[in-house]
C-alpha cells in the first residue's frame, strides 16, 4: 500500500478504501511493546496522515484529521501545519466533519501559533447565527473555538454575533456557553465591553434560565477577581445580594461569596449587609464546599464582625476534627492561616490539633501546620518553638526538614531579625541547623551568618565560636551543601578573629588537608581568612612585646587606636591571669598537638615559638596554592606568602629573644600598615546605597563604551565565571583592603552611631562577658530522638502563648540602615495588570455609557454598536440629562474625599456610573418608583452636600438598605 501510493502523487482509491481509522491507529499504538516501536508506528501514521489529509474526499480528510488531533493532543505532536485542512472541513454539512474540525482547531489553534483563524470568520458567524439549520451541536464548538483561540481582532469582529444568543430569554442550551465565551472575548479584547457587558448583566436577572445565571455569575466572579480594582462592579452589588439570599444553587452561592469577598473591603456597608446571610448559610448548610467558602469569606473580608468570626472558627474546628478526611483538615488549617496575628486566639484554641498535624502523614497538612506555628512566633516564644522545630527537623523526611529550616530562617530573619532578642542563641541555632542530615539551605545560612556578624556587634564572640565548631569538623568538608556555610564561617573567623580564644587553632582548621575538597571560591575565602588571622596574631605578638617593654621602661607607649582589645588586655592583665586563661582553654575542645597547648595561653601571650610554628604551617600548606590554577586562590595565597616573607625578613625576627630591638622602625611601620588595612570595620550596605551616590559631574552613564572594546580587544581579559562569582560573593573580603569602597558603609555606620550613640555599647567590651550566659549550643549529634514526636505533641502549652517573660538581658543593637533595608520589593505582572485595567476601564465606560464623550476604547467598535444605541435612544436621552447632574454631584463629592487620591480620574465616572445603573434598573423594573427616587437623590445633593462618605455610598445604600 505504501509502495503503491508512493508512486502516485494524488491519493488513490486504494488508499481511501483501506484508510485506517482512529481506532485502528490506537490499536497499533497499544500493540507496540517498546517506545522505539511506538515512535516508528507514529512516524508511519504521520506519513499516512500527511497524504490523506490532502485528499479531496472530505471523509478521508476528516478521519486523517481525527488521527492527527489524537496524536497532537496525547502524543504532543505539532499540528499547526494542518490548520488549513481543519478550516477546509468547517463548511461541511455533515455534522461529524465540522465537529471534528472544531475539536482539532480548539485544541491546537492560538494566535501565537497560527494566524489562519481569521479565514474562518465568515464560517464562524454562519454557525453562530440563530437559524433553524444550525443545531447547537455545531454552534457550541464554534463558540468554544472562539473562546479558546480568538485573537483580539477576531473577538472584536464576532462579539456582536454573540448578542442574539446572549439575549435569548428561552432556555436555550447555548446561552450559558455564550456567556462563558463572552467572558473570554472580554478578556482578549476589552474593547468589546460596550457590546457584551449589558447582556451579561441581564443574564443575572431572575427570569433567566438558572444555568445562564450560574454561568453569568461565574463570569462576573472571574472579572471581579481578576480586576486590580474591582470598584466598577460595586453597582452590581444589589443583584449579587439578591442571588446570595435567593439562590438555591450552591455553585452560584459560592461564586457570589467570592465576589463579595472582593467587594466588601471597598465598601463597609456591603460587609455589614452580607454578614447575616453568610452566618445563616454557615449555620444552615451542610455542603462542605459552601461552608468552606463562607469561612473563607468571613476570614478574608468580615474580620470586623466578631460573631461571624467565632461561628467560622467553630466550623473550622469541625473541619479539623474530621479524622477520616484529610482534605477537610488541610483546608481547615489553611483557612486558619488566613487569620492574622490579631486573631491568634483562634489558632490558640486549636493548638493541640495544629501541633499534632505537624506529625501528619500528609505533607500538605504538615506544611500548613508549620506555617501556622511560625505565624504564632513572637519574641517570647521564639526560642522554645525554634529549638523544638529544629530538633524535629532532624528526624523528619528530607523535604519537610528543609521546609522547616526554610521557615525558621525566614521567620527569624524577617525585618532584620526583629523577633530575636538573644543573638547568642540564634547564632548557635544557625550552627545547629547545619548539623541536620538533610541540610540544603546553605545560601540562606551563609547570608545570615555574615549578616548577623555585620549588624550585631554583641553576637560576634558567639558567632566566632560557632564558626570555629563548623570549621574544625573535617566531616563537614565533603558535603557540597555546606560549602557556602563554611565559606561564611571562614569569613567570620577572619574578620572577627579578635574575639577568638584561639586564633592558631582556627588557622589549623582553615588549613586542614580536607579543605582541598572545597570549591575554589570557598578556598579563596579560607586563604584570605588565614591572611587576616596571621596579621592579627603577629600584631598582637608585637604589641604584647612592646607593652612589656613599655611597662618595664615605665613609658606607656601602647595607647593606640584600632585593636585595643589585644593590647589593652595584655597591658592590664599581663601574665597574672594565667589560671583564668587555662580555664578558658578547657572549654575549648581538646586538641592533641603541642602547638595548640602552647597557644592556649595566647590570649595573654603569643609565644615566639607559636608564631613561628604558625608561619611554618602556613608556609607548608599555602605554598602549593600559589601555583593553583584558580586565580582567586592563587592571588590570595601569594598575598599570605608575601606577608610571611616580610615578617621573616625583618631584623627583629632573626634574633631569638629580640626584646631590645623592637623599636626597629621597620616592624613598627609594618604593624601600623597591617593594622590600618584590617582595622576598618565592615558594616552592612543598604540596598539603596548605590542610588544615593550622586553621579560625578562630567560622567555620562549611558555613554556607549564600545571604544573600550577596541582597547581591551582581547577576549582572554574577560574574567571567567568562577572568578566573578567569588568576587560577588565575597566582595566584603575585598573591601577590607579597598578603603575606597569601605568608606560608604563606615561613614553610614559612624553617622548612625553619632545619632543613636546612646544605644551603642562601648566599643571595648570585655570578652569574658560572653561566658556569663549558658552555652546554648550542645553540638547536636544525629542520635535517635525517639521521644521527639511525643515531645512535639506535648509541647508545653505555654510555648504558643505569647507570655510576657522578662528578658534576661536587653536586646543588642542591630544595625538597620533604612526602611528599604533587607526588603526586596518586587512589582510583578505589570503587563497583565495593564490589560485588566483596560478591561475595568472599559466596564466603567459601559456602566457610565457616556455618549457625549466616547472614550478611545469605544472607537473601534462604535460603528457596530451605534445601531444598538439608536434602538436604546429613547431611554438614553433621558439618561444623558441625568448624567450631567450625577457628574456634577460626583465632582463635588470627590473633592471632599481625601482618601481616594490615586484614582481621581476614574472616581467621577464610577460615581455617575453607579447612579446610571441605578437609574437604568429603576426605569426597567420599577418605573413607578423611579421618579421618587430621583427626587430623593437631588434632595441629598442639596441637603447633604458636606457628607464625607465615600463616593459610591449613595448607590449602594439605595439598593441595600
Amino acid at each position: 500500500m505504501a509502495a503503491a501510493s508512493a508512486s502516485s502523487s494524488s491519493p488513490s482509491l486504494i488508499d481511501t478504501l483501506f484508510q485506517r481509522s482512529l481506532d485502528d491507529l490506537i490499536r497499533v499504538l497499544r500493540s507496540s511493546s517498546s517506545a522505539a516501536l511506538e515512535a516508528a508506528a507514529i512516524a508511519r501514521a504521520l506519513d499516512e496522515i500527511r497524504r490523506e489529509i490532502r485528499s479531496p474526499d472530505l471523509d478521508t480528510k476528516v478521519v486523517a484529521l481525527q488521527k492527527l488531533t489524537y496524536l497532537a493532543s496525547l502524543h504532543h505532536f505539532d499540528m499547526s501545519w494542518a490548520a488549513f485542512h481543519a478550516l477546509e472541513l468547517l463548511p461541511s454539512t455533515s455534522l461529524p466533519q465540522p465537529r471534528a474540525a472544531y475539536l482539532a482547531a480548539s485544541l491546537s489553534f492560538h494566535p501565537s501559533s497560527t494566524d489562519l483563524l481569521p479565514l474562518a470568520t465568515h464560517q464562524l458567524r454562519k454557525h453562530l447565527a440563530p437559524s433553524p439549520s444550525n443545531s447547537p451541536a455545531v454552534a457550541a464548538p464554534a463558540l468554544h473555538l472562539l473562546a479558546l483561540a480568538s485573537s483580539p481582532d477576531l473577538a472584536r469582529h464576532l462579539a456582536p454575533d454573540l448578542l442574539p444568543i446572549l439575549s435569548n430569554q428561552s432556555s436555550n442550551p447555548l446561552r450559558p456557553k455564550a456567556v462563558a465565551t463572552a467572558l473570554r472575548v472580554l478578556a482578549v479584547c476589552p474593547d468589546t465591553a460596550p457590546v457584551l457587558f449589558k447582556p451579561l448583566v441581564e443574564c443575572l436577572s431572575l427570569s433567566s434560565d438558572p444555568r445562564a445565571v450560574s454561568a453569568a455569575i461565574g463570569a462576573f466572579c472571574e472579572l471581579a477577581l481578576a480586576a486590580p480594582d474591582p470598584s466598577p462592579y460595586l453597582p452590581l452589588a444589589p443583584e449579587f445580594y439578591r442571588l446570595l439570599v435567593d439562590s438555591r444553587n450552591n455553585w452560584v452561592t459560592i461564586k457570589v461569596l467570592k465576589i463579595f469577598a472582593r467587594l466588601a473591603p471597598l465598601e463597609p456597608r456591603v460587609a455589614a449587609r452580607i454578614v447575616d446571610p453568610v452566618c445563616q448559610l454557615l449555620r444552615r448548610f451542610t455542603a462542605k464546599s459552601l461552608v468552606f467558602e463562607c469561612i473563607r469569606t468571613v476570614f478574608s473580608s468580615l474580620l470586623d464582625h466578631d460573631a461571624a468570626v467565632r461561628l467560622a472558627v467553630d466550623k473550622i474546628k469541625e473541619f479539623l476534627a474530621s479524622d477520616d478526611d484529610p482534605n477537610l483538615r488541610y483546608l481547615g488549617l489553611q483557612a486558619l492561616n488566613m487569620l492574622g496575628p490579631a486573631h491568634s486566639w483562634a489558632v490558640e484554641d486549636s493548638r493541640e490539633v495544629v501541633i499534632q498535624s505537624l506529625n501528619d502523614t500528609d505533607t500538605n497538612i504538615r506544611r500548613e501546620a508549620l506555617r501556622l506555628i511560625m505565624g504564632m512566633l513572637c519574641d517570647s516564644n521564639v526560642v522554645d518553638i525554634c529549638n523544638m522545630l529544629i530538633k524535629y527537623a532532624i528526624k523528619s523526611d528530607p523535604e519537610f526538614a528543609n521546609e522547616i529550616l526554610d521557615e525558621v530562617l525566614a521567620t527569624c530573619g524577617r525585618n532584620v531579625y526583629e523577633l530575636i532578642v538573644d543573638f547568642d542563641w540564634y547564632v548557635s541555632l544557625l550552627g545547629e541547623m547545619v548539623r541536620n542530615p538533610h541540610f540544603a539551605k546553605g545560601d540562606e545560612i551563609e547570608r545570615q551568618l555574615v549578616d548577623v556578624g555585620l549588624r550585631v556587634r554583641d553576637a560576634r564572640p558567639e558567632l566566632i565560636r560557632v564558626a570555629r565548631n563548623l570549621l574544625i569538623d573535617p566531616a563537614l568538608l565533603g558535603n557540597p551543601f555546606l560549602c557556602k556555610v563554611l565559606s561564611a564561617a571562614a569569613w567570620v573567623s577572619g574578620e572577627y578573629v579578635e574575639f577568638s580564644r584561639n586564633p592558631l587553632e582556627l588557622v589549623e582548621a582553615l588549613l586542614q588537608p580536607r579543605t582541598n575538597l572545597l570549591p575554589p571560591f570557598v578556598r579563596a575565602v579560607y586563604v584570605q581568612a588565614v591572611f587576616k588571622i596571621l596579621a592579627y596574631s603577629f600584631i598582637s605578638f608585637i604589641e604584647q612585646i612592646q607593652a612589656g617593654e613599655s611597662l618595664a621602661i615605665g613609658n606607656s607607649l601602647n595607647q593606640r587606636g584600632g585593636k585595643q582589645e589585644g593590647s589593652d588586655l595584655v597591658a592590664a592583665k599581663s601574665s597574672s591571669d594565667q589560671n583564668n586563661a587555662f580555664e578558658i582553654g578547657d572549654g575549648v575542645a581538646t586538641a592533641d598537638k603541642a602547638i595548640l597547648f602552647d597557644s592556649i595561653e595566647k590570649q595573654e601571650t603569643f609565644k615566639h615559638e607559636s608564631i613561628s610554628c604558625l608561619l611554618n604551617l602556613i608556609e607548608t600548606v599555602v605554598g602549593p596554592l600559589s601555583e593553583c590554577g584558580e586565580v582567586e586562590v592563587q592571588e590570595r595565597a601569594r598575598n599570605v606568602l608575601g606577608l610571611i616573607l616580610i615578617i621573616r625578613g625583618t631584623q627583629f625576627w632573626n634574633i631569638e629573644e629580640g626584646h631590645e630591638l623592637t623599636r626597629d622602625n621597620k616592624i613598627t611601620k609594618m604593624v601600623e600598615l597591617m593594622e590600618s588595612a584590617f582595622s576598618e570595620e565592615l558594616g552592612p550596605v543598604s540596598t539603596n546605597a548605590q542610588k544615593r551616590v550622586s553621579v560625578p559631574e562630567g560622567l555620562i552613564l549611558n555613554e556607549n563604551l564600545s571604544e573600550l572594546l577596541d582597547i581591551l580587544g582581547d577576549d582572554d581579559i574577560n574574567p571567567c565565571a568562577s572568578v566573578s562569582f567569588s568576587l560577588r560573593n565575597h566582595h566584603s573580603t575585598e573591601t577590607n583592603q579597598d578603603s575606597a569602597t569601605a568608606i560608604e558603609p563606615n561613614s553610614l555606620l559612624a553617622e548612625h552611631r553619632k545619632r543613636h550613640g546612646l544605644y551603642y555599647l562601648p566599643m571595648d567590651k570585655d570578652k569574658s562577658e560572653s561566658n556569663d550566659y549558658p552555652c546554648a549550643n550542645e553540638p547536636l549529634l544525629p542520635v535517635s530522638h525517639g521521644e521527639d514526636t511525643e515531645d512535639i505533641v506535648k509541647l508545653p502549652a505555654q510555648s504558643l502563648i505569647p507570655e510576657k517573660a522578662k528578658p534576661t538581658k536587653p536586646r543588642p543593637v542591630v544595625i538597620r540602615l533604612d526602611e528599604g533595608d533587607g526588603v526586596s520589593s518586587s512589582n510583578l505582572s505589570t503587563a497583565k495588570e495593564s490589560k485588566d485595567d483596560m478591561l475595568s476601564g472599559a466596564i466603567r465606560d459601559v456602566l457610565l455609557r457616556n455618549e457625549k464623550k466616547p472614550s478611545s476604547t469605544h472607537k473601534t467598535s462604535s460603528d457596530r454598536t451605534s445601531q444598538r444605541r439608536e434602538n436604546d435612544g429613547s431611554e438614553n436621552s433621558e439618561l444623558i440629562s441625568q448624567q450631567k447632574e450625577s457628574n456634577s454631584f460626583g465632582d463635588r463629592e470627590h473633592g471632599k474625599s481625601s482618601s481616594r487620591k490615586s484614582r481621581h480620574h476614574h472616581k467621577e465616572r464610577i460615581e455617575s456610573s453607579g447612579q446610571n445603573r441605578d437609574n437604568e434598573e429603576k426605569s426597567h423594573r420599577h418605573s413607578a418608583k423611579s421618579s421618587h427616587h430621583h427626587r430623593r437623590h437631588k434632595h441629598r445633593q442639596r441637603g447633604d452636600a458636606p457628607l464625607d462618605i465615600v463616593p459610591q455610598s449613595p448607590v449602594i445604600q439605595d439598593f441595600l438598605l
Binding site: 478504501l17 496525547l74 492560538h110 501565537s112 501559533s113 473562546a147 462563558a180 468552606f292
Partner: protein
C-alpha cells in the same frame, strides 16, 4: 477558572488533555510530566490538593482523584472552590460511568472524541456550566444521535461511501 483537565493513567500516559489556556505541544508534554511526577509521589489516603504554583503559575492549585488505574486532575485558580472542584471530578467520573457502563481505562482510550464531547458539556472555556451528570448525558446522546443521522450510511466505511457518492 479551570485552567486544565488532565486524565492520565498511573504510568503517566495521558488519556485526556484539555488546556483552557493555550499551551504549545512541548509545553503540554512538560506540564503533564511534572503533574505526574507530583502525583506519583503522593501516597493514598492523603489530601487531594496540590499547590501548583511551580507548574502552572502563581495562585494555581490542582485537585486530583486516583481511581483504579487513572488519575483525574483539575487545575484551577482562586476563582474556584476547592471542594467544589473535588465534587466536579465526581460528576465527570459519574457521567463517564453512566455513559460507558462501568467505565474503565480502555473506554477512555478508544473514545477520544466522545470524551471531549462529554467534557465540553461540563466545562466550557474554563467555566463550569453543568453539574448534573444526567443532563450532560442527555446532551451527549443528542449530539451522537445527530451525528449518526447526519452521516446516513453507517455500515459501509465512510470513506467508501463518500467515494461512491460522487
Amino acid at each position: 477558572m479551570i485552567r486544565a483537565v488532565i486524565v492520565m493513567n498511573t504510568q503517566g500516559k495521558p488519556r485526556l488533555l484539555k488546556f483552557y489556556e493555550f499551551q504549545p505541544p512541548e509545553k503540554q508534554h512538560e506540564l503533564t510530566r511534572s503533574v505526574f511526577a507530583v502525583l506519583s509521589g503522593r501516597p493514598d489516603n492523603v489530601s487531594n490538593f496540590v499547590e501548583a504554583d511551580a507548574i502552572f503559575g502563581p495562585g494555581t492549585r490542582l485537585v486530583y482523584k486516583h481511581l483504579a488505574t487513572l488519575y483525574f486532575v483539575f487545575v484551577f485558580d482562586s476563582c474556584e472552590n476547592e471542594l467544589a472542584m473535588l465534587d466536579l471530578i465526581q460528576v465527570l467520573v459519574e457521567t463517564l460511568d453512566r455513559c460507558f457502563k462501568n467505565v474503565c481505562e480502555l473506554d477512555i482510550v478508544f473514545n477520544f472524541n466522545k470524551m471531549h464531547t462529554i467534557l465540553d458539556e461540563i466545562i466550557f472555556g474554563g467555566q463550569v456550566l453543568e453539574t448534573s451528570s444526567e443532563r450532560v448525558l442527555k446532551a451527549v446522546e443528542e449530539i451522537s444521535r445527530l451525528e449518526k443521522s447526519s452521516s446516513s450510511v453507517s455500515f459501509v466505511p465512510k470513506s467508501v461511501s463518500g467515494r461512491f457518492g460522487r
